[in-house]
Symmetry: C2
């Protein structure tokens, strides 16, 4: 039995690829290490019918490919709650404010605004398909986003705010990120405003039924092709095709699409070792780190006080929160991110300490009512064996311009998908879908 | 059959650990993926009794632990050839010069000298055992070595020279390296002068019989314990001990010492996944990239012209060469490094193109006589399945201060060795030896 293609990883990238290949009449197999589909998108369903998104959850304007899928499969979306004032806890002062301009000292605001505009402008020069061909690529790739922030903003408060926003966007410390990668990422999602905002931004909408609902529906068409609990350990290839091997299975195919992050792809053993520069790439593209923390309340009590649940702080382990209540507001669900270095500190705590740390942050933002929660739950993505970090793989300085060109280049019969390989909405669900479509077009073009 | 300890990787770190544990009366097993010992140290022996070191080869002052082993096992060392003038091909001009001060314009020299002194001074503040506790660690870890060079040296020629030297020291582009890591590395090997120089430096001596000779002698005491061709795929552990599993074998032990680089340790599967911050570390510590290229001549013809074979250039794929002739000078062996981005470009060439590219560089340095070679040979370490880069694992910005503390921390019954874990001569053979000794002292202390 020889398949036309085997797809490894049943996240949005892999499922999209599998579905499109099947619909093109190809005999395929979709292998997933976990006992569920969705990858970095995971919805936890409670007995009472409510649910929380433990992973990726948002969808917004220009994310056309994921919107198209949602429409096709009849999954509805709804607006993220953003009525009322946001909350800022900066330099130990708590302030509520309307709109998207934070109540910082005027000098800090001007400094911040100039930096945002400068970054948006700089990002326009990036070559999305081949970032290493961006004008001045070598130099942009030689410094960290942190260094650029230091150069651009003389106000420490402005830098702090920029850092909180950056960490919420990348789930990584600006010190870790190549400036070229940051610019690439920003342009890939249109601009910084688009990445940061709810309204007209990447956080504008959520999925009714949770972000896993759509991929669950997609795989209904793949009942015969999907194998859960099937981690791939080994890939053998020669000019005729590939053997894909795991514990208790060995499947043959003409082609394979690896739809998992580079950091995990490096952990598969290849009988014909991948080219050295491809291997060096996989050694460099590290996963961000984020813990998603939820407190669930009888009601979204902050709404009654005219707050939208959107809080930001330059102190504490949780630096950003969102109102993640259900569409009908029948419960209050406050979601907070522990990001980058804060995620790493958070992960050194035991479960009780984590709960206390998260609730302390929520109470600092929204007052003592935040302590009257019914349930606390968190998900640490760096602790997930089959993801090992979120939101996505990130390029450290020097990677794009030295080995970046290996990111999407097929290795013999091995093709690459996953949101890390997308030039549009890289790191987002939409990017994952696009990467699956692109990998399929590679296969259909050559076969 | 349950061993006291299993050591994974028979490079200098693993062999040192195995030997010391055996001598302490422990029942041990030493597993090696390759069909030889030595790891990143590999000597190729020719039929006529001559040899070349394809990997690590030098030994110098204060590398006391490797010197002690050499003495114990009766391996002699000899001075690297450094008589006569060095050669500089900078900004397309070829110059020969005496001593260690390159013939650059005086302004560039002053700029370069100030930077070297500044780096030596800065490095003194590093906490070698816990680099994340270095004063100002967060900031030092947030910028690249490249950024620091830009700040310190206004002369482009000075920066170019510094870059050539840095790449020869790290086998990585300054853009990729955390400044904190660079400072750590410099102090770990005493100072920049010590790392750069032949006389009184890390390149002062070589091993008679090649750098693999010593480890070959060491493993003679480990005939019953060494298993070659035994790549480890899987490690299961519980509170009682570990199972170490590969194709066709499964061994049990109380403890395991993993003496391979972090980037490769991540590719072993752990039944009890390693802690998230440890995993994130392994995603970040990338291997440098270097190709070691040899041209072998009837005689070291450059010596007759008063040259020492030490050349440096800011142009071309090979930027540094050394006289690697045998102790008695009976042949001429010129060795050149393709480093960092140049190594990556070099690796995209086919074998004939590589040979031509290397010889072209040699001829540019030493004239047309360099084209009359008897043999060309190169070794690309990023292409070695069981190393995947050289000289060593390197910390990108942000790694030391976020997850660096997991580098040496045992994970249950798993202990870590390898030159990457050494605080003295990190990245060198001496560091490997020290790491093996340190891991053994951990095991003997707790058991």
């Amino acid at each position: 039995m020889k398949y036309d293609a085997i797809i490894i990883g049943a996240g949005y990238a892999g499922v999209t690829a599998a579905l499109n290949l099947k619909r093109a009449g190809k005999r395929i197999l979709l292998l997933e290490a976990r006992n569920r589909v969705g990858g970095r998108i995971e919805t936890k369903y409670f007995d009472d019918g409510s649910y929380v998104d433990l992973g990726g959850q948002w969808i917004g304007p220009t994310q056309d490919r994921i919107y198209a899928l949602a429409k096709e499969f009849g999954v509805e979306t709804f607006k993220s709650y953003d009525q009322g004032k946001s909350t800022l806890l900066f330099n130990n002062r708590l302030k509520a404010y309307n709109g998207i301009i934070p109540p910082l000292p005027i000098y800090s605001l001007l400094s911040l605004d100039a930096a945002i505009k400068k970054m948006n402008k700089l990002s326009k020069s990036v070559n999305l398909q081949q970032p290493w061909l961006t004008p001045n690529a070598q130099q942009l790739d030689s410094i960290t986003l942190y260094s650029w922030m230091q150069q651009q903003m003389s106000s420490k408060t402005a830098r702090d705010f920029f850092q909180v926003a950056s960490e919420a966007i990348f789930a990584a410390n600006p010190a870790e990120i190549s400036l070229l990668h940051a610019l690439f990422y920003v342009k890939s999602g249109k601009d910084l405003d688009s990445l940061m905002n709810i309204k007209n931004g990447a956080q504008e909408e959520r999925f009714v039924g949770g972000a896993q609902e759509l991929v669950n529906r997609m795989v209904k068409e793949l009942q015969d092709e999907l194998r859960l609990n099937s981690p791939v350990r080994h890939i053998d290839q020669d000019e005729n095709g590939v053997d894909v091997i795991g514990e208790g299975f060995k499947y043959s195919a003409k082609k394979v699409i690896i739809a998992i992050p580079p950091a995990l792809a490096s952990r598969i053993e290849y009988n014909k070792p991948l080219p050295p520069n491809r291997d060096q790439l996989m050694q460099r593209v590290f996963m961000g780190s984020v813990v998603k923390c939820y407190a669930i309340y009888k009601t979204p009590f902050w709404r009654e006080r005219g707050l939208n649940g959107l809080c930001a702080s330059n102190k504490g382990l949780i630096t950003v929160t969102f109102d993640n209540s259900p569409k009908d507001g029948s419960k209050g669900m406050l979601m907070g991110f522990a990001l980058a270095n804060q995620a790493k500190s958070f992960l050194e705590l035991n479960p009780l300490e984590r709960e206390k740390a998260a609730i302390d942050c929520f109470a600092a933002f929204l007052g003592p009512e935040a302590r009257n929660y019914d349930l606390y739950i968190d998900q640490a993505w760096a602790n997930e064996e089959w993801t090992r970090g979120c939101y996505a793989g990130i390029m450290p300085p020097g990677a794009w311009t030295s080995v970046g060109k290996t990111l999407r280049t097929p290795c013999g019969n091995i093709h690459w998908a996953g949101t890390e390989t997308s030039d549009i909405w890289n790191g987002y669900i939409d990017g994952a879908v696009r990467s699956g479509e692109r990998a399929v077009s590679e296969l259909l073009t050559i076969s």
